[in-house]
């Protein structure tokens, strides 16, 4: 067995185990309905996490995701009030996401500052901007929103695939192509694996790093668009703390937090695991949100230790 697939397989094993556990514990759990719901409820997080996967693969981190989700929603709600079509405002916000991400990437590379602290400033900036625009929730009333929310593909077994889940799957497919079938994608892995070597092997560093964060910005903005359409509103506190969920999804999806190793597809399952835990806890009824956080932390710990031992095996060979 190839060791680099090990974290990914662990992810799938955890997902299946959780799903089977749910099936044994609760009636009606084994259904496409439950799967469909998990996909819809977590689509925005997973989309944002897909972008974060690239950032983390390159050895960086992006904390501005949650604020981006909130900001996109607030702007879209206000543009809706001004008579914009949601698709037009969505396109605008996607463009903004790319530019904002690229700006962060540029500062990170140019000033050689840890991505952690720059994207932290990004977190503050976007969240603050939300409050500058609105303090309360603003509804998005355009008929397109309800049409979008209702559109779905029925699944066998009574479930359905809602439009936000479909957008998420398309975004995932695009990300898989970018990560695994473009030169840019391989460059991301190279930078995360060994920055110095990557530069010596001719990877264009600044262009790649700016593109990585631009891509991250695009995906978190897309997550924001999905969230705004899903809740048909813009709320300045929306997405608070979602950066942690996104990072956790990426790590649970088998991507090494130190960069260089991982698969974009894993992030889907990582996000689904978090969703599944939340669903299981909701099914129980007597448990509360605390369990979600703690089990997330425990899983995170287990995956990080698993990854640590894998990285250890790489390092040993290298130093010998």
């Amino acid at each position: 067995m190839r060791e680099r697939y090990l974290p990914f397989l662990a992810t799938i094993a955890v997902f299946v185990a959780l799903f089977v556990t749910g099936g044994f514990l609760y009636k009606h759990f084994f259904s496409t309905l439950v799967i469909g719901h998990i996909l819809v409820d977590n689509a925005f997080i997973i989309v944002a996490a897909i972008g974060t996967t690239f950032v983390i693969l390159s050895g960086g981190i992006d904390l501005s995701i949650g604020s981006m989700i909130g900001f996109v929603g607030v702007v879209m709600a206000n543009l809706d009030a001004a008579g914009w079509h949601p698709l037009a405002s969505a396109a605008l916000m996607l463009g903004f996401g790319v530019l904002f991400g690229a700006f962060q990437g540029f500062i990170i590379d140019f000033c050689e500052i840890q991505p952690f602290i720059i994207t932290l400033a990004g977190l503050f900036m976007l969240r603050g901007a939300c409050f500058m625009i609105n303090l309360d929730s603003v509804p998005i009333r355009h008929p397109f929103v309800s049409a979008f929310a209702e559109a779905n593909i029925p699944l066998p077994g009574g479930g359905f695939l809602a439009s936000s889940a479909i957008v998420m799957l398309v975004a995932l497919a695009a990300a898989i192509v970018i990560a695994h079938f473009t030169r840019f994608g391989t460059n991301v892995y190279a930078i995360g694996g060994d920055r110095t070597s990557a530069a010596l092997m001719g990877v264009p560093m600044r262009r790649t790093i700016v593109s990585i964060y631009a891509l991250g910005g695009f995906y978190s903005a897309l997550g924001g668009v999905i969230y705004a359409l899903y809740t048909s509103s813009g709320y300045p506190l929306a997405g608070t703390g979602n950066e942690l969920n996104a990072i956790a999804s990426v790590v649970l999806g088998g991507t090494l937090l130190t960069g260089g190793v991982g698969m974009v597809a894993g992030t889907l399952f990582g996000g689904m695991i978090l969703g599944l835990i939340a669903t299981l806890i909701n099914f129980n009824g007597s448990l509360n949100g605390a369990w979600i956080m703690i089990s997330g932390g425990v899983l995170l710990f287990l995956f990080i230790v698993l990854q640590r031992s894998l990285v250890g095996s790489f390092k040993l060979r290298r130093a010998a």
Binding site: E3, F181, T182, G193, D194, G260, R317, A320
Partner: protein
């Protein structure tokens, strides 16, 4: 004939690559001065020289990484301009650097094709990429699973993959910068098989190494650089070991030979520290060594011969995997500098930037830190005490600093070296291990350090001094342990200690 300029070499073919009168100056140093270098097709030339000889500068000029100040480069007789590594590659000059510069977490395929993956309809075709990767490895007769991450292979295989990446169809010159530095004997043989094969295909190979045995095993010709000048070149047969090492080490005329005579041959007492069969795989072969109070033991050998490793093994900074250490006649085990420091052993490292100074801390803090760690964190040295010790050392070693509170990173390199030396002295050792104590120190201070070492020895310290400068060792040493290719090959005592004898022992003649 061996002669600067290589005029004696009979040329039968047009050299594959020829460098004529190459000079390169960096601020404050003439890195290369009118160096000539040539290489025939299918020839392996070993480029030899100690630290600062100009090897890497010459390589960088050849591969376009830096621009020369003067001189010309000819490739197969035609004058060429090489202004970037890309241009060098396009001309057929490929380089494999010392550390494997590949990405260990990526698969072999990805490493081999990074930046030049074959594409279909804008997307990478991994099927074609794998085919290319296999083809590249086939040139080296290497049959490995190309989908595994590179890091899961041994360093030797990684090295070969790096060569495979560097080799193009039209490669005419291949530069191998210390490819065998971290390989064991079997792995080195694997690499050599491939080098011989490449040679038979007419590729000219520049081989840089510190291992003398390997030079004679693989090279057709040797060029020796010292202080930026070509001091000799000739076929391997014309350049026996003794001659080669003499050329490499040269002679520093600044030293006062009188010191040698002034040296009191001393120490007959029981050894304080004895190493028996101490060694570590891939680092240094098991060796015996003893240190006595009032005696200076020198560690001689070329760059990469295992001097630093020997010193660190005795200090406990590297964990041995064989042998034992006796301190005062009783077996001791220490596995960390923390423990050896408490046993009264101090170490002054060679690489002051990486292992020596704490740049942001003050001169005072840098000087007292080893003593402080010996005393433990609770028994803090008072500020006055720290100041006193620091001032004492600043005076003794003549450290150029306005005051003891200046951050050490603002001092010149030589003064930083003295600060690190001061640190090991202040810790109050019985046994003092100095690795290149005079590296980066100007000539005046050089003599002071030599005097200081003798002085410390007279006070009853046991000293172990590793140095690349033979004159320094001859000046201070009561006994010289000689290393070659990571193995102790001899010990020279008392009146026998001369440059010539050391060189002879290194050469193994």
């Amino acid at each position: 004939m061996v002669e600067a300029g290589g005029a004696g070499v009979v040329e039968t073919t047009t050299p594959r690559i020829e460098l004529r009168g190459i000079s390169k100056a960096f601020p404050g140093i003439q890195a290369l001065a009118k160096v000539d270098f040539s290489l025939n097709p299918g020839e392996v030339c070993a480029l030899m020289g100690e630290n600062g000889a100009g090897k890497s500068t010459l390589i960088k000029v050849m591969t376009g990484a830096i621009r020369r100040d003067e001189g010309e480069i000819r490739l197969d007789g035609k004058v060429v301009e090489i202004n970037s590594p890309g241009e060098a590659r396009a001309l057929g000059i490929s380089t494999v650097y010392q550390e494997v510069n590949l990405v260990p977490t990526m698969s072999v395929t990805k490493n081999l094709t990074l930046g030049r993956q074959p594409r279909r309809f804008g997307l990478v075709s991994w099927r074609a990429a794998r085919e290319r990767a296999r083809e590249r490895l086939r040139r080296l007769n290497l049959d490995i699973d190309i989908e595994r991450p590179l890091g899961s292979y041994s360093v030797a295989i990684q090295q070969l993959v790096a060569i495979a990446r560097a080799l193009e169809d039209d490669t005419r010159v291949l530069v191998l910068d210390e490819p065998t530095a971290s390989l064991d004997a079997r792995e080195t043989e694997l690499l050599f098989r491939i080098v011989r094969d490449l040679k038979s295909r007419g590729i000219a190979i520049v081989f840089i190494t510190h291992f003398i045995d390997q030079v004679y095993a693989i090279a057709d010709r040797i060029s020796v650089l010292r202080n930026g000048r070509l001091v000799g070149t000739g076929s391997t047969a014309e350049l026996p070991r003794f001659k080669l090492i003499s050329l490499m080490l040269g002679r520093e005329l600044e030293h006062d030979e009188a010191q040698i005579a002034a040296k009191a041959s001393s120490a007959t007492g029981e050894p304080i520290l004895t190493a028996q069969g101490l060694g570590r795989r891939r680092t240094i072969a098991p060796f015996d060594l003893s240190l006595r109070a009032g005696e200076v033991v020198g560690l001689a050998g070329l760059l990469g011969s295992g001097r630093t490793e020997t010193a660190k093994l005795i200090f406990g900074a590297i964990r041995p995997d064989s042998g034992e250490l006796d301190l005062d006649g009783a077996a001791v085990t220490y596995h960390s500098p923390r423990q050896s420091l408490r046993q009264g052993i101090a170490f002054c490292p060679e690489d002051r930037k990486a292992e020596g100074v704490f740049g942001e801390l003050s001169v005072r803090e840098n000087i007292i830190i080893a003593l402080q760690s010996k005393r433990g964190w609770l028994h803090r040295l008072s500020r006055d005490e720290q100041e006193r010790l620091a001032q004492e050392m600043i005076k003794t070693l003549d450290i150029a600093t306005p005051d003891a509170d200046k951050p050490v990173e603002q001092l010149s390199g030589g003064n930083q070296q003295k600060v690190v030396l001061a640190r090991s002295l202040v810790s109050g050792p019985r046994i003092l291990i100095l690795d290149e104590p005079t590296r980066g120190i100007d000539v005046g201070a050089h003599a002071e350090v030599v005097t200081l070492i003798r002085h410390l020895c007279e006070q009853g310290l046991a000293l172990l001094v590793a140095s690349s400068e033979l004159d320094e060792l001859v000046a201070v040493g009561d006994r010289i342990a000689v290393l070659r290719d990571r193995r102790k090959v001899g010990e020279i005592v008392g009146a026998e200690i001369t440059r010539e004898n050391i060189i002879k022992t290194i050469a193994g003649a």
